[in-house]
Amino acid sequence: MLTIDQLREMGVQPEDGLKRCMDDENFYLTLVKMVPGDAGFQNLEMALGEQNLDAAFEAAHALKGVLGNLSLTPLYEPVQEITELLRNRTEMDYTPLLETILEQRKILEGLCG
């Protein structure tokens, strides 16, 4: 079962996220468990695969909101980075950043069981 400590070990600083959930740990963890299944990851991957930077920006931006809300730092940081790059429609290879994101997602998924 997912715990706050496990999240801390992963690098998450859950304090703000918890506060936003009125310090209700169970509720917070329930929401965190929903993150790996968020359609945003798939949307981002697909859009980047199609070189559709507009759609990729929208997907990244939406994800950033959710991750920020829950203070999932290790995921939030690369997503924020890719969002800013996509905001300017920067022509570049997004693969390494995407991989980091997907890797962190996998770790979280593992924790969630």
Partner: protein, 570 residues
């Protein structure tokens, strides 16, 4: 016990949370669910559907900008165009500075930064936004006149002041508009029709605003105020009014009057500007030839003059400046010379600075402000005093008619006051005749008929003054116990060789006969006029042909000439 409604505690409000990310929605619901009922939407289209479905009880919308199937901007734009949902406050959920500006421009009231704002802040801002929106709504609902949707008087002046301050260089007009004898329109055609007229007038005001901008209000009853950029073309104004009433039932019976204070100087308070516009509007009361009057220097002076008269009234009474003149009335039998029969008591004001004032200079003013009643009492008493003196000197008096103003008829003590005077001066009520102007009869004929009957029961003779000036219906006449019809002065003035003018007089004679009332012709100035009235069977006549109004002493001298030989010597 609480005596005030606590808005925060007593109602559980509903909030719509629109975000395509379920996790974001859940966080907000978790925060706000303790205080509010929540509804969710995940796309732009769903958001609009939910807003429309719950429009009656939705207190706030929390709106994400990036949603599929219609963005938050699309939602804001749609809301702006729909009056029914425009009032619902929206807090935009965003993290972009540029988005915040655009959202505020599109009508959002506030924004929250996703993932940044803490629960206390979110809850407080939600609460505050709802309060502000509700306060605004409450204020708006008190701003408007319920019937017409225009501003009410109070808010009109507040906003007009702001408008003036925002552009002090702009030349503005203060316009007042009302309906001639609106209470009678209401009485004859019913209140519902009256309301229709008011709504039409509000539409007319709006059309004027379409042309010259500004603000409009229903100030009270049938009076509308319009504050707008200077309008040079008054024909256009008349056209708007004409078009506005076109097609309305009884449109011909509704006379709209307009008073304009053009280019009203900004140093004059708005309240005074509209008082002046209104006095211009009142200045064309009963004047069918004019629909629009402007406030100008002449009107200003007239108003100042009126104010002076009102101010001087107390002194006039205390220093005995009010005197009574007598306009002799003659019997005009067909086969013999006219014979003095009676007189009408007329008021004069011997003003120490303005000289002698005739009633047309001050009676209309006093009728408007109610002082007429005190003036009437003065005249009644003075007339009775003279009659008493003649009775003592000659053992008789001619009957004298005194004027009863409309306002006197609403005085519950009128009968007692008049009977008291008769008793005090030892007169007979048959000698003391009461003239009531025709326009008074149009007010509430039943109440009036009862009043007049009570006066008749006390023995007074009732004369209807200005008969034929246009207000009484034949129906009302049958209810009124009248003794004398006094024909309006216009019948003598308009008398020509034309048979039609004679015909009108004949008709009045027939009406009088049918009512068993006698008739008096007023304003007889020539022998020709006298002959016409005499030949048509009129009983009595008065006017300059016989005599101008006389002082009590002059009337007494005339009086003596007609006394029977065996009467006391003059």
């Amino acid at each position: 016990m609480r005596t005030r409604f606590n808005r925060t505690l007593d109602i559980r409000r509903t909030i719509l949370i629109a975000d395509d990310e379920m996790i974001n929605r859940q966080i907000l619901i978790h925060k706000l669910g303790r205080f509010y009922d929540t509804i969710e939407a995940a796309t732009g289209r769903e958001t609009l559907e939910k807003i429309r479905e719950h429009r009656a009880d939705l207190s706030l919308i929390m709106l994400d900008l990036n949603m599929p199937d219609g963005t938050g901007y699309d939602v804001l734009r749609e809301m702006q165009e729909d009056e029914e949902i425009k009032r619902i406050p929206v807090i935009v959920l965003t993290s972009e500075a540029q988005a915040e500006i655009e959202s505020l421009q599109l009508g959002a009231v506030d924004f929250l930064e996703k993932g940044k704002d803490m629960p206390e802040v979110v809850v407080a801002r939600v609460k505050r936004s709802i309060e502000l929106a509700e306060d605004t709504m409450i204020i708006r609902s008190t701003e408007d006149d319920e019937l017409t949707g225009l501003y009410n008087r109070k808010y009109f002046f507040e906003y007009a002041k702001l408008l003036r301050r925002s552009d002090p260089e702009q030349e503005m007009d203060a316009i007042a508009m009302n309906v001639e004898r609106f209470h009678i329109v209401n009485e004859i055609y019913g209140r519902q029709f009256g309301d229709t007229v008011l709504i039409k007038l509000a539409d007319i005001a709006r059309k004027i605003l379409n042309i010259s901008g500004g603000l409009a209000a229903r100030s009270e009853a049938d009076t509308f105020f319009i504050y707008c950029r200077h309008l040079e073309d008054h024909e256009l104004l008349q056209e708007i009014i004409r078009e506005g009433l076109q097609g309305m039932e009884h449109a011909a019976k509704v006379r709209v009057r307009v008073g304009v204070y053009p280019k009203a100087p900004p140093e004059i308070s708005l309240e005074d500007q509209f008082d002046r516009a209104l006095s211009a509007c009142h200045s064309i009361r009963n004047d069918l030839t004019r629909q629009i009057a402007c406030y100008d220097e002449a009107l200003h002076e007239e108003q100042m003059f009126e104010e002076r008269l009102v101010g001087d009234f107390e002194q006039a009474v205390s220093e005995d400046q009010i005197s009574v003149y007598f306009q002799p009335q003659f019997l005009i039998p067909q086969e013999s010379q006219p014979i003095l029969a009676s007189a009408e008591a007329l008021v004069r004001w011997d003003h120490p600075e303005l000289g002698q004032l005739r009633p047309n200079r001050f009676v209309p003013t006093f009728e408007r402000n109610g002082l007429i009643s005190r003036l009437d009492h003065q005249v009644w008493r003075k007339a009775a005093q003279h009659m008493r003196a003649w009775k003592e000197r000659y053992g008789m008096t001619y009957p004298i008619s005194i004027n009863i103003s409309r306002i006197d008829l609403f005085d519950d003590e009128l009968e007692d006051t008049l009977s008291g005077l008769i008793e005090e001066f030892g007169l007979d009520p048959s000698e003391y005749r009461l003239e009531i102007t025709e326009s008074a009869y149009a007010e509430d004929s039943r109440q009036l008929a009862e009043k007049i009957q009570r006066l008749k029961d006390r023995g007074f003779t009732i004369e209807m003054d200005d008969f034929g000036s246009g207000y009484s219906s034949l129906n009302a006449l049958t209810e009124l116990p009248l003794d004398v019809l006094k024909m309006d002065i216009k019948f003598a003035r308009q008398l020509t060789g034309d048979q039609n003018s004679h015909k009108m007089i004949s008709i009045i004679m027939e009406i009088a006969e049918w009512l068993s009332a006698s008739t008096i012709a007023e304003g007889i100035e020539t022998e020709e006029q006298l002959n016409v009235f005499r030949s048509l069977g009129c009983d009595l006549a008065q006017g300059y042909y016989f005599s101008k109004p006389l002082t009590a002493e002059e009337f007494e001298a005339l009086f003596c000439r007609y006394l029977p030989k065996e009467g006391k010597a003059c």
